[in-house]
């Protein structure tokens, strides 16, 4: 089990579990990041502070500590 933080650019994965405080989870689920969803890491932002992932046809930006709360199964 890894998190979005450990993905390499262009690597695909499936969300297995969300962690973190409820407020963050709400936000993530509202953006469509829910267990079972397939995602791909697009890039890390300058200085490794943020992550851009692709979910279906849309792109989502995340901070490092948020990315660390999205647990994945590699596919």
């Amino acid at each position: 089990m890894t998190t979005v933080c450990h993905l390499e650019p262009d690597q695909n994965a499936q969300i297995s579990r969300l962690g973190g405080p409820p407020g963050l989870m709400r936000r993530l689920v509202a953006l469509g990041l829910r267990p079972g969803a397939a995602i791909r890491l697009v890039r890390r932002a300058p200085l490794g502070g943020a992550f851009q992932i692709a979910l279906g046809d849309s792109f989502i930006a995340l901070r490092a500590q948020e990315a660390g709360q999205i647990h994945l199964e590699l596919s």
Binding site: P21, G23, L24, R27, L28, L31, L33, V42, R43, R44, A45, P46, L47, G49, A50, Q52, A54, D57, S58, F59, I60, A61, L62, R63, E66
Partner: protein
């Protein structure tokens, strides 16, 4: 009852549609606001109807309650369904939200099954376009076999064509949804029993779905047995029918909808550059510079024009037979006050234009992504960076731009930080002082002041964040696909925001200017004797620790509250005396107006090629009155001048900014901002005086 009393109109129209799609607005536009409001019999649901003449024919329009479907799951839907069946209208106007086509089409498909003549009023086209959706209305009309009229009901667009359609004898709509064979067979059997009723297909489907509809007993019994038979076969007719309608609506909307966005591949390609680990930030900063350049180049001619109009009006006043005090009140007070407000309008308009574009094209979200890291140490989300940067152009739109942030506390913190950033008006003053006192290091001094302002703002935000920890400032956000916003919509959005500022803040700003006029003019003819001079002299001891001992310098800070660049003009008047305004004749004035308008237009056109010339951060500093530089040099020492500049940078936001804060966050925070900044300005000014080598 009223409807029964009057003779039935030649044509009866009903409007149907989901709630809030603009049915009432549409009836209002068609009937010219002549509608009656009552209740549907035995309910508290509003009944709205209108009688009007269209091309000489009398027409009655009845607005049916908002409904998502005709399955009558709410009292409103029940009324809508029963009235549709009972009224037998000559035409059903199905009002559809163009921005939400799929859900709205469900009702359209049901209406088509009722066998009524239907025309589709495709409303809210403007909002759909703003979402980047275009609908092929012709294709939709062909697919549905119905007339489709695109509309913006709130602005009356398309109403003419709708009225034409309303008078045409449209044929009954044909059903569009094909169900499973077993359902179709049942519908046919029931339909045969209902021979003659145009709505028989809809009735049969409703009965099979298990809805309560009024049917002749044998038909009701037959439908119940058919329903049970289907269920025994493992088919739930309700689910089948609803599902098939939704599928049809989905497929239809997919065919006629064009999402005007860059395909994901293109979006990714652009992002490869804009979100590049190293190039991203420089590109983003260059973009910000371009926004400022655009704003100043295009707004400057119009600001000058406002000034020219003010000059002409003042000249006319000077040429009138009014007593001098009244002349001064009109020219400096009233015209000056309104002119101050109007001079803000061009800057705001062009800055808003750039912002609207950035917002709806998708660039704004990228900028937030890039800046997130930088903002993080102040405990702020990346979205706060843009309002802060905008503050360097003008604080006022920057305050309003905080609206793009979600969390109230975050918004407030950014808004309180913004007035510390050195707007372009302050730049003019800095340039003048730097040239007089620090000719060798002028650029460094100005740049240092910029940094000081930004640091003071960010520190404020960080401290407030520590005092009142926000929930959890989240950086997670969608990066929408790029798209090209429509010009008309962007222009209108920018204009509406500018207008809102003029309407909301214009009064307060004008009053402030009038109060300051009063200060300057009460108490004798000479400036030295005015209330203003006396007040300034009272304040001198307060500023003495900062090395500022000349009452004229202290006093200039008071009108600086109107707009920071006013400080220069005030200093000019109090050091050098004011020149009397030359009287202007009517014709001369008109000629001057015409000329300055042409000049403004010409300068505006010239701004287009200038956009691509050499970069320039702000407009050139206004020419200081001759001799002011020399007079200033003798009235204060460099250390005092430094303290004065620091104070000027940080003290009370200008009145327009204060009004903006009040509008967005309330009176309490506006006052807090005023006093807090005075304090910070004083303390840092004092520090500057003590630290600066004299």
């Amino acid at each position: 009852m009223a409807a029964l009393a009057t003779a039935r109109a030649e044509r009866l129209l009903v409007t149907v549609g989901n709630p809030n799609v603009g049915k009432t607005t549409l009836i209002n536009a068609v009937s010219g606001s002549r509608f009656e409001v009552g209740n549907w019999p035995g309910t508290t649901v509003d009944r709205l109807s209108a009688h009007c003449k269209l091309s000489g024919r009398s027409v009655e329009i009845v607005d049916l309650p908002g409904s998502y479907s005709l399955a009558a799951t709410t009292p409103e839907e029940k009324i809508a369904r029963d009235e549709l069946l009972a009224l037998k209208p000559d035409l059903v106007v199905d009002v559809v939200d163009a921005g939400n086509l799929e859900r709205n089409l469900y009702l359209t498909l049901e209406l088509a099954e009722m066998g009524l003549p239907v025309v589709v009023a495709l409303n809210l086209v403007d909002e759909a376009r703003a979402k980047g959706l275009t609908i092929d209305a012709d294709l939709l009309a062909r697919e549905l076999g119905l007339a489709v009229v695109p509309l913006v009901a709130s602005r009356g667009e398309g109403i003419g064509e709708l009225c034409e359609q309303a008078l045409r004898d449209n044929p009954a709509a044909c059903p569009l949804v094909a169900y499973q064979p077993c359902i179709e067979a049942a519908v046919e059997e029931l339909g045969a029993l209902l021979e003659g009723a145009p709505e028989r297909r809809w009735l049969a489907l409703a009965a099979l779905s298990g809805e309560t509809v009024r049917l002749p007993l044998p038909v009701a019994e037959r439908s119940e047995s058919l329903r049970q038979k289907l269920e025994a076969e493992g088919v739930d007719p309700f689910l089948e029918i609803a599902g098939q309608r939704y599928r049809t609506a989905h497929e239809l909307s997919q065919r006629v909808l064009d999402r005007q966005q860059a395909p994901p591949q293109l979006t990714e390609k652009i992002d490869r550059w804009l979100l590049h680990p190293w190039l991203g930030l420089p590109l983003f900063l260059a973009g910000m510079l371009l926004v400022f350049r655009f704003t100043f180049l295009f707004s400057d001619p119009w600001i000058e024009f406002v000034g020219a109009v003010q000059g002409v009006l003042a000249g006319w006043v000077a040429g009138s037979a009014l007593p001098p005090v009244v002349q001064s009140f009109l020219a400096d007070g009233l015209i000056g006050g309104v002119g101050t407000v109007m001079a803000f309008a061009p800057v705001l308009f062009f800055l808003y234009l750039a912002m609207s574009f950035a917002e709806s094209s998708g660039f704004l979200s990228r900028a937030a992504f890039i800046a997130d890291r930088v903002m993080h140490w102040a405990g702020l989300p990346g979205r706060g960076f843009i309002p802060l940067m905008l503050g360097f152009g003008c604080n006022v739109p920057a305050i309003y731009a905080t609206r793009t942030m979600e969390d109230f506390n975050d918004r407030l913190r950014v808004a309180l930080a913004i007035p510390f950033t050195a707007c372009s008006a302050r730049l003019a003053v800095f340039v003048l002082f730097a040239a007089v006192f620090f000719p060798a290091q002028a650029t460094a001094v100005v740049f240092g002041l910029y940094l000081l302002g930004l640091a003071a703002g960010l520190t404020t935000a960080a401290i407030l964040g520590k005092l009142a920890p926000t929930g959890h400032s989240s950086g997670a956000m969608e990066l929408p696909a790029y798209r090209l916003p429509t010009l008309g919509l962007t222009l209108r959005q920018a204009w509406m925001r500018t207008f809102a500022f003029i309407k909301g803040a214009g009064g307060s700003i004008t009053i402030t200017v009038l109060v300051i006029w009063l200060l300057l003019n009460v108490g004798g003819g000479k400036p030295e004797n005015s209330l203003y001079a006396q007040l300034s002299q009272l304040l001198v001891p307060v500023f003495t620790p900062l090395g500022v001992t000349d009452w004229r310098l202290v006093g200039a800070l008071i009108p600086g509250f109107i707009a920071k660049e006013v400080v220069i003009g005030t200093l000019g008047v109090s050091y050098l005396g004011s020149e009397p305004v030359a009287a202007l004749g009517l014709m001369d004035g008109l000629q001057q107006l015409g000329q300055s308008f042409l000049t403004a237009c010409w300068a505006f056109l010239n701004a287009i090629p200038a956009m691509f010339g050499l970069p320039q951060l702000a407009p050139p500093a206004p020419e200081a009155p001759d001799g002011l530089a020399g007079a200033l040099g003798t009235s204060i020492a460099p250390a005092g001048a430094m303290a004065y500049l620091v104070f000027l940078l940080l003290y009370t936001p200008c009145v327009a900014t204060v009004v903006a804060i009040r509008q967005e966050f309330g009176r309490r925070w506006a006052s807090f901002s005023v006093f807090y900044q005075l304090l910070v300005a004083y303390v840092l000014g004092l520090l500057a005086y003590l630290v600066w080598p004299s």
